[in-house]
């Protein structure tokens, strides 16, 4: 029994610990243990079927790839909680629709950003447990009505779409914490802010194209508001100021900056103001701000000495500007208490100093012939050697066999173990390098002598990148171990589709066809309101605007289906007058009068000349289609009609022939006739529906056929691309969706790196403790920070001067004397203000592979 329990608990616990894989080859044999799969940026043109066998999968990312088909069997993985399908512009929206319609998973987080979506599948709002949804950078124009039911939504990103109105849906997201609706020029940001004003628990809101801030802004409870690309003319007065702590304006123009500044200064809650991407001259009035924290990133400012006049500012962020060191020093001297975020004192390093000699990577060897032009693929790189490109040490042309030694460093752990310096100094400032990929290439002849590249010759290198960063500077390490800039690379996203050529497989037209595929023509009915003894006693009748209707009941015009409805029921009701029999009549009275006026205005011009009461069938077809049902409990009737999107249900009594209330006999007779007309109307609609049904199927099939054909064409294009890039592909070689193209003019160590500053430089806690228990009293000899988010590595010799980026995913490797090192991973070990937990590893007893595994998530 005990054995059984033990086995059972072991079986269960094997599923409790997250098992993460990043390669397809790692999946086979471990399907039941795997809980997380990260196959982003792998250059996949087919959705890996191995993923479907992982029945305990909770986290899946296949972002930034090139597959078209999405298997519906993915929906059978009921344990899936996080799904990332972002940056897959070729993804079949058909398959996406089918996936969400038939899935059994209940997601907490879904990322569909940058996937060229023209509409959101109806199955997505049905994911009621969804808390985080990213739909940024798509082509969405509407959100499905059913998104109102997503009451558990906490974070939603709708930036850079083509949305028109989301306020009516956003009203229902009561638990919302963050929303980004910027970059949607059709969204009425004022209306959205009003809707969001009534939500408690909001933390961050991002909007753009704001023209005025509404008065209800006073109730706005979010902690952070980011306003982009807006012209701010007016800011709420002091007594209406909201409770925002952090206010950021990005790329905004202020018509009345003084009034805005005065409002912010009198606010008790706003203590952080950000002014980004603005013209420097427009920032001058903001020197009058009286706040605690000021953020003026990315403004191309070159002088900040005027900021010393701002007495209240104690925190200043000036990254992304061109400020010389002298100006920074002057400000630091004038205001020593001010905390400035501009750069970090990074200790420069040069050359190559591997921390562990036994863990240094061995190069990959490839043998080629030197005389001809050829493309050589080694690891993630492809080298396009021109002919006669190798020379010996004496400068003579070499045409014999060449041994290429290639080592690549793409991940932080590979960079760390290589010991290659990742800093560079420019204008008295040392920067950290964030690597987009690094490799070392050496060429030797058959005797082991080094060869060089012929002067004037360059080698085109295509390097499979680990991230889809912007173009980066290309660096070569010189003989002194210092990085020298050699131009910039070019980023090629293999599967990125030229949006001008997008075949719109399930494009907006199809979606609109789904909504409005049947055009209906009918006579219209205009309400006429008459006075009664009292306001509540007004009479209602309907004036029929007879239209010239097509003769055919149902007509198919290829894309549209047209239905003609004679509507005997409404015609019957329009012959009678009713008296209102309800409460609150003033509002109803006015609404009916408004409808009547609107119909006069809109339909007046549709009247056909020379006729008494005939109108063209074209024009707005919202007509109050009339219906009636008895209200037995109240002894009256309910008259129903729809106008535009509103349904009216009016309690009415029938007026008899003599202008008085109808008698019982009259009412009975009236209702019998009404039922006959209703029956005729019902038969008419059912007859038409029988004709329309096959036409709808036909239309849908035609669209599906076209869409399928377009998808097949896209698949062929992808296969062509794959053939082009993988001409000499090895079976085991991996590829990515993002390629970097650069030219090298020599052999050696080459790097595609960007100089970076940290987002939130954070100093180290002073003490270390062991995960096994107890404090570590020994002083570390060095601390290396592996920044997994920016792909950078920095080493500090002095613990007191060490720092890391608090916003990145980090690994610390702390060196002590001897072979023991401490490893901290911020997703595993704990850190607080007082100490950092370290997992102690004896590198003398651990293989390189096992050590690297410890550094990976």
């Amino acid at each position: 029994m005990k054995l059984l329990l033990l086995t059972f608990s072991l079986f269960i616990t094997s599923f409790l610990f997250a098992y993460r894989v990043t390669e397809i080859s790692e999946i086979k044999g471990n399907e039941m243990e795997i809980t997380e799969i990260d196959l982003s940026n792998k250059g996949l043109t087919k959705f890996p079927s191995e993923v479907l066998a992982c029945k305990n999968l909770t986290w899946l990312s296949v972002a930034n790839n090139g597959f078209v088909k999405v298997p519906s069997d993915l929906g059978k993985i009921s344990t899936l909680k996080h799904l990332d399908l972002s940056k897959n512009q070729n993804m079949s929206q058909f398959d996406l629709m089918n996936l969400f319609d038939s899935c059994s998973f209940s997601l907490n987080s879904l990322d569909l950003s940058a996937s060229a979506l023209f509409f959101l599948p109806d199955g997505v709002p049905i994911q009621r447990e969804l808390r985080k949804l990213n739909l940024a950078d798509n082509y969405l124009t509407v959100l499905p009505y059913s998104m109102m039911s997503m009451s558990k939504l906490r974070d939603i990103n709708l930036a850079n779409n083509k949305l028109k109105d989301i306020s009516s849906i956003a009203d229902y997201w009561w638990g919302l914490k963050t929303i980004d609706a910027s970059g949607n020029s059709g969204v009425n940001s004022e209306k959205l802010l009003m809707s969001l004003s009534f939500m408690d628990g909001l933390e961050s809101v991002t909007v753009s194209y704001l023209t005025a801030i509404p008065e209800q802004f006073a109730l706005f409870g979010a902690k952070e508001l980011i306003i982009k690309s807006s012209t701010i003319s007016k800011f709420p007065r002091t007594e209406y100021s909201p409770k925002i702590g952090k206010l950021v304006f990005e790329d905004c123009v202020f018509n009345n900056a003084e009034a805005t500044i005065a409002s912010i200064n009198t606010s008790e809650t706003t203590n952080y103001v950000g002014l980004r991407k603005m013209v420097s001259v427009d920032l001058i009035p903001f020197l009058q701000l009286e706040i605690d924290s000021l953020d003026i990133q990315s403004n191309v400012i070159s002088d900040i000495t005027a900021i010393s006049e701002m007495s209240t500012v104690s925190w200043l962020d000036i990254r992304g500007n061109s400020i010389p060191q002298s100006s920074l020093k002057a400000l630091a001297e004038n205001k020593p208490e001010m905390n400035m975020v501009y750069g970090e004192v990074i200790q420069p390093s040069v050359g190559i100093a591997p921390p562990f000699a036994e863990y240094v990577q061995k190069p990959t060897i490839k043998k080629i012939k030197a005389d001809k032009a050829q493309k050589v693929r080694i690891g993630k790189a492809t080298f396009d050697f021109p002919e006669e490109s190798f020379v010996s040490a004496d400068g003579s042309l070499y045409t014999g066999p060449v041994k290429l030694e290639y080592t690549e460093y793409t991940t932080p752990e590979e960079i760390f173990l290589s010991g290659i310096s990742m800093t560079t100094t420019s204008e008295d400032e040392t920067f950290m390098l964030s690597s987009g990929g690094m490799f070392n290439i050496e060429a030797k002849d058959n005797k082991g002598n080094e060869l060089a590249l012929k002067p004037g010759k360059t080698v085109d290198v295509t390097f499979a990148a680990t991230a889809d960063n912007q173009s980066m500077p290309v660096w070569q390490m010189d003989q002194n171990g210092v990085w020298q800039m050699q131009g910039t690379d070019k980023v090629e996203e293999v599967f990125k589709v030229d949006q001008r050529l997008l075949d719109s497989v399930m494009n907006q037209d199809f979606y609109e066809i789904q909504l409005n595929q049947i055009k209906r023509y009918r006579h219209r009915y205009k309400p006429m309101v008459g006075r009664g003894e009292r306001l509540e006693d007004f009479t209602i009748s309907f004036d029929r605007l007879v239209s010239v209707l097509p003769e055919e009941d149902v007509k198919f015009t290829g894309l549209n289906i047209e239905e003609t409805i004679r509507d005997e029921r409404s015609h019957f009701l329009s012959q009678y007058t009713f008296v209102y029999d309800g409460d609150a009549s003033r509002a109803t009275n006015e609404v009916l009068m408004d409808i009547s006026r609107e119909m006069n205005h809109k339909y007046g011009r549709l009247k056909i000349k020379g006729t008494e009461n005939s109108y063209s069938k074209n024009g707005p077809n919202f007509s109050p289609e009339l219906s009636l049902k008895p209200n037995n409990s109240k002894d009256n009737f309910i008259l129903t009609f729809n106008f535009k999107d509103t349904t009216f249900n009016l309690p009415v009594l029938l007026i008899g022939k003599k202008g008085k209330k109808a008698s019982s006999k009259e009412i009975e007779k009236f209702y019998k006739k009404y039922l006959i007309s209703h029956g005729e109307y019902k038969s008419e609609r059912e007859r038409n529906a029988d004709k329309i049904r096959p036409l709808l199927e036909k239309q849908k099939k035609a669209i599906m056929k076209k869409a399928k054909k377009d998808e097949e064409m896209r698949q062929e294009r992808l296969w062509d691309m794959e053939r082009k890039y993988k001409a000499d592909m090895d079976a085991d070689a991996s590829s990515t969706s993002v390629q970097r193209a650069l030219n090298i003019n020599g052999f050696g160590l080459w790097n595609c790196d960007a100089r970076r500053r940290m987002m939130r430089p954070t100093s180290f806690s002073q003490a270390f403790s062991s995960v096994a228990g107890g404090m570590i009293d020994e002083e570390p000899t060095a601390i290396t920070v592996l920044d997994r988010t920016t792909n950078g590595v920095i080493t500090f010799k002095d613990k007191r001067k060490a720092f890391f980026d608090g916003e990145s995913k980090n690994v610390f490797v702390v060196f002590f004397t001897g072979t023991l090192v401490g490893v901290y991973r911020n997703w595993k070990e704990k850190m607080d203000d007082k100490k950092i937990e370290l997992k102690m590893i004896d590198v003398g007893e651990t293989s390189a592979g096992d050590f690297i595994k410890e550094l990976k998530p």
């Binding site: 509540e536 037995n632 009256n636 209330k661 019982s664 009975e668 029956g679 019902k682 609609r685 529906a689």
Partner: protein, 258 residues
């Protein structure tokens, strides 16, 4: 003269207008109530301590008794109708009860009152009647004398005698007149209802509810007048039978079903 006429008409209008308003204001403040339906007995009506609800109960019972004798369906008492009748009997002026034309004009008010009180019936008929309280045949003579204390109503049978001095040897004590008994009052009420042809209307319409309220006319007490009371009766019922709902239209086209 013209100015006087203008003033008189304005006064009359204001009076009429204010009366409607008084009725509606009272209706708005009042609460619906039910009375106990009991048959009237032989005990005399106490004019000084007049219980309106008790008398209303006698009238409803009498009316239902008569309705049943006509082999018609018994009427159920409705608290909202009682409320409307109560406000009407208290706030309408006496002219409404005396003149049928004036009474007809009040039907709009009743219609509105039914709507305000949320009565679930739209067919009604109302009656405003005056019921004689004095237990004396109509053509019989009587006289009023406050000094003689033998009658609660201060009314005595016959012609006023010439000798009213008690100490005179030829003094004849007058015969005091009393109010009707409960049963007599119910009978008088029924007769007035028959005169108004109320029960005929019952036969024609589908009435199911009744409301009654009464008020004694104070100005007819302790006067040389026959004391009487006002009663307002409303019968109400459904104007239409129970209709079936129209059949739904089902089309089964995507996104379009009624």
């Amino acid at each position: 003269m013209r100015i006087i006429l203008v003033y008189i008409s304005l006064f009359a209008f204001a009076n009429a207008y204010s009366q409607n308003r008084k009725f509606l204001v009272h209706l708005n403040k009042a609460y619906p109530f039910l009375v106990e339906e009991t048959s009237g007995g032989s005990s005399k009506i106490d004019v000084e301590d007049f219980d309106r609800k008790e008398i209303s109960g006698y009238f409803i019972s009498a009316a239902n008794g008569w309705i049943e004798s006509l082999e018609l369906k018994r009427l159920e008492q409705d608290s909202s109708l009682n409320k409307i009748c109560n406000s009407a009997v208290l706030k309408f002026s006496s002219s409404r009860f005396k003149n049928k034309v004036y009474w007809q004009r009040e039907q709009k008010n009743f219609d509105y009152a039914l709507k305000l009180a949320k009565v679930p019936h739209r067919r009604f008929v109302s009656f405003g009647i005056m019921v004689d309280l004095l237990d004396l045949e109509k053509n019989e003579k009587f006289f009023f004398d406050r000094r003689v204390k033998t009658s609660d109503l201060s009314l005595y049978e016959g012609v006023r005698p010439k000798i009213m001095n008690e100490n005179h040897p030829d003094y004849v004590e007058p015969v005091p007149l009393e109010a009707k008994s409960e049963a007599q009052l119910c009978q008088a009420f029924l007769e007035q209802m028959k005169k108004s042809k109320a029960f005929n209307k019952l036969k024609k319409g589908n009435y199911s509810q009744i409301g009654i309220s009464v008020r004694i006319e104070e100005k007819s007490l302790n006067r040389s007048k026959r004391p009487f009371l006002y009663a307002v009766v409303i019968f109400s019922g459904k104007q239409s039978p129970k209709f079936d709902q129209p059949e739904k239209i089902k089309l089964s086209l995507s996104g379009y079903d009624e």
